[in-house]
């Protein structure tokens, strides 16, 4: 019931956004509003803000005038699927690394004080600075038949952004069991590892689920941005840049990959919701948000 209402509200939000877009376009002057040469309201010309219907129409047409080119929506969907799969790999690696780091920090107090500042600091390195470095390091990696690919650099950067919320959330979750439960485990004479598996890991789920959601959002943003900075083609990130160059002649086209990126984000968020549902029994005494 609550979930249904949430979905309805989400749909209502999207509709409202569309209405606002068209309303602004209809009401504001075509050249925007500028005070002393400073634009305070954006332009609403068809080149800057195409009608939603124009965008939709454009999506059904072929990508370019080259004969046999696929419809735009299909190309965008394909690029979205590519981006989503790279983001998923990044997310998975990030989640595993985050869990391992949190486990080490939980196990060894000294590791917590030694690692935690670095974990926090790691997130202050700008993505743009990181991308060329990762790409260059990748060229040194040759393991037999294995060659480092550009998409791996992108996934690595996505995982770099994804591991952070997971490690912080999991550390809080692993430390969440009450003393009575820890005493009980000690009374049963079980060691650290089984206490971890049977008590700390299940107890961490309510903290972990929001962390997974954040990690998914980070992984998607990381993937799209890293596609651009590394120059990986095939995904929506690169497509946004490519299409923007044709902006003046075909203004509606550049909006298609942006919607593609939104779809990637929604699918990623939806996947995490499903994971949360699957872990339902570990979230029994979670306060409904």
């Amino acid at each position: 019931m609550k979930r249904l209402r949430g979905a309805m509200l989400g749909i209502a939000g999207i509709v409202l956004l569309g209405v606002l877009w068209e309303a602004y376009k209809a009401l504001a002057p075509a050249n925007g509003v500028a005070i002393n040469g400073l634009t305070v309201l954006p332009r609403t010309s068809d080149a800057a803000m195409p009608h939603l219907s124009t965008m939709l129409q454009r999506a059904l047409d072929p990508v370019s005038s080259v004969p046999g080119s696929a419809p735009l929506w299909a190309a965008v969907l394909q690029a979205s699927a590519f981006t989503l799969s790279v983001a998923a790999v990044g997310w998975l690696v990030g989640v595993i690394v985050g869990l391992v780091i949190a486990t080490i920090m939980q196990r060894f107090r000294t590791a917590e004080s030694a690692l935690l500042p670095w974990v926090v600091l790691s997130q202050t390195v700008p993505l743009i600075a990181l991308a060329p470095l990762v790409k260059r390091w990748g060229t040194f990696v040759h393991l037999g038949a294995f060659d480092w690919q550009d998409w791996m650099s992108v996934a690595l950067i996505a995982s770099y952004l994804a591991f952070f919320p997971v490690s912080i959330g999991a550390l809080r979750g692993f430390s969440s069991p009450e003393r009575a439960h820890l005493d009980l485990m000690r009374a049963y004479g079980v060691g650290w590892w089984r206490t971890h598996l049977r008590l700390r890991v299940p107890a961490s789920v309510p903290y972990l689920v929001p962390a997974l959601r954040l990690a998914a959002a980070n992984a998607v943003i990381g993937t799209v941005v890293a596609e651009v900075s590394i120059g990986l083609s095939g995904g929506v990130g690169r497509m946004i840049i490519d299409f923007a160059q044709t902006g003046s002649s075909d203004p509606a086209k550049q909006w298609a990959p942006i919607f593609g990126a939104v779809i990637v984000g929604l699918v990623a968020a939806g996947a995490v919701v499903l994971i949360g549902l699957a872990l339902g029994k570990y979230r029994r005494n979670e306060v409904p948000a």
């Binding site: 009450e178 009575a180 079980v190 029994r284 005494n285």
Partner: protein, 280 residues
């Protein structure tokens, strides 16, 4: 580790618990530590039911935690069935229940009761059979598949008690297990515990604030004084064997006499004897 259904505790001539000259000091933040226990000696025989009673902060929980090897004594020794407490803990010689039920919220009633068996590697089928048996024993027949949040406080406490019994321990450690229950549930649980104990023949160390509860259940009552925690008196209850601990006992003349004896020992005066009759 016996996951066997009706494994009766092996008869033993060794005392269940032997505490000799034990002291416990909790280190304080600024040098001054808290002396929770000082020079405590106590012997509890196999199969004996002993209650610890005393004002809040006198070290009852601390004593129980020392027996369970959840804390280490600052001085003296604690032996359980002739072994150091640590060895007894690793050998799973005792079952334990606290004031808070302490059930894992993601496990069903059955899974909670199975927990110690699972941790100690019992097979799935044996685990289930034993858990079902205990669910019956504590009268939760229809609730095996419910989660703790679907149970009342009293039912949760019964699950915790079932969990403490699941490995048929020869020694049961209970820290105010009925503390959070209403009076009616509490009396019913007391009767159930007396029955369970008679059936299993385990020794019990039972911490409580309630004098009638201690008198009703115990073979002996240990009266403690606070700061530093010491044993003031050991009182023999001699209310007959465990099987006779029925509700009728609560109305018994002899029962009231023992209640006022404990009260006197606790307060260190004779006023209590007048109030003995109104004991709940």
């Amino acid at each position: 580790m016996s996951a066997n259904a009706s494994a009766a505790p092996r008869p033993s001539t060794e005392p269940a618990v032997e505490i000799v000259g034990v002291g416990k000091v909790f280190p304080g933040r600024r040098g001054a530590g808290v002396t929770a226990l000082e020079d405590v000696s106590l012997q509890i025989e196999a199969g004996e039911f002993v209650s610890l009673i005393g004002p809040s902060g006198c070290g009852k929980s601390t004593m129980l935690r020392l027996i369970a090897d959840l804390d280490a004594p600052s001085s003296g020794t604690v032996n359980v069935f002739g072994k150091p407490a640590r060895q007894a803990r690793l050998d799973q010689d005792y079952g334990i229940a606290f004031q808070q039920a302490g059930l894992l919220p993601w496990r069903t009633v059955r899974e909670n009761i199975e927990l110690p068996l699972q941790l100690h590697g019992a097979g799935r089928a044996a685990r289930r059979a034993r858990a079902d048996e205990l669910i019956e024993l504590v009268g939760l027949g229809d609730f095996g598949d419910k989660h703790p949040d679907q149970l009342s406080g009293g039912m949760q406490q019964r699950v915790a008690i079932a969990r403490s019994l699941v490995e048929s321990p020869r020694l049961l450690l209970m820290d105010e297990p009925f503390g959070a229950l209403d009076e009616m549930t509490r009396e019913r649980m007391q009767t159930e515990l007396a029955r369970l104990r008679a059936e299993t023949g385990a020794a019990v160390v039972f911490v409580t604030h309630s004098i009638p509860e201690a008198v009703y259940l115990s073979d002996r009552v240990v009266v403690m004084s606070p700061r530093p925690g010491r044993i003031v008196r050991l009182l023999d209850m001699r209310l007959g064997s465990a099987q006779e601990r029925t509700d009728a006992l609560r109305e018994d003349e002899h029962f009231f006499e023992r209640v006022s004896a404990v009260r006197e020992a606790l307060h260190g005066d004779a006023v209590a004897s007048v109030q003995g009759k109104e004991a709940r």
